[in-house]
Amino acid sequence: MPKGEFDGKVAVITASSTGIGLAIAKKLASLGCKVVVSSRDQAHVDKAVKEIKSAGGEAHGVVCHVGNKDQRLKLISEAVRVFGGIDFLIPNAAVSTHMGNFLDATDVQISKMLDINYKCTFLLIQEAMPELRKRPGSTIVILASYAACNHCY
């Protein structure tokens, strides 16, 4: 696996101060990627950036609730301002509003799930397209779930 191919590339990952998002940020940073880390909480973002930098990676943190258009646009503009563009867009932010039988989900739970997980993922991609179009070979990696087609217990 050539380390060189990620050198200088910029990855933007939502909900990346913990869990899967942070693991992706750390992995890409370890390969030479500049990563833009984000989550709803400044302290969590700062902690994640510190962790990546301590390991020798390049990272910049932006507070972003994916349900907030201004914050999504800021996430994109910060990636451009600090690192020059976006090569990898990784919408990872999601909510899990209901556990148990799907048929027992409420109107409010379904609405929130679709709003954040589907609509805001789409809007972030749409809003980032002008930047992705500037970079040859740019890529989008959407985080979905096995739960899309089967139960997780």
Binding site: M1, E5, F6, K9, A11, T18, G19, I20, L22, A23, I24, K26, K27, L28, L31, C33, D87, F88, I90, S96, M99, Y118, T121, F122, I125, L132, R133, P136, G137, S138, T139, I140, V141, I142, L143, A144, S145, Y146, A148, C149, N150, C152, Y153
Partner: protein, 85 residues
């Protein structure tokens, strides 16, 4: 969404793929497995729960030119066969 976007962006050379994690040990999914890991493994029909590294490896592959001939696909990383071909 992945498939439609992948089709629309094909000739612009922008790939769109998705990762479909199974049950991964994170705070987000804690309600499902914390305090009952053994039972969770049995219920899920896997040999272990997933680690965040399992998914990060998938993201690396999909961002890499190693997957340059792949677009519009879902990479299931769930410790067991996905319900589709």
């Amino acid at each position: 969404m992945t498939k439609v976007l992948a089709k629309e962006l094909l000739y612009e050379n922008i790939r769109v793929n998705c990762l479909a994690p199974g049950l991964i040990k994170t705070k987000f999914s804690g309600g499902l497995w914390e305090g009952r890991e053994k039972q969770s493994i049995e219920d899920m029909g896997v040999t272990r729960l997933g680690e965040v590294e399992d998914i990060a490896n998938g993201a690396r592959f999909l961002c890499s030119q190693e997957s340059s001939y792949m677009t519009g696909e879902a990479l299931f990383i769930a410790g067991k066969p996905s319900p589709r071909l």
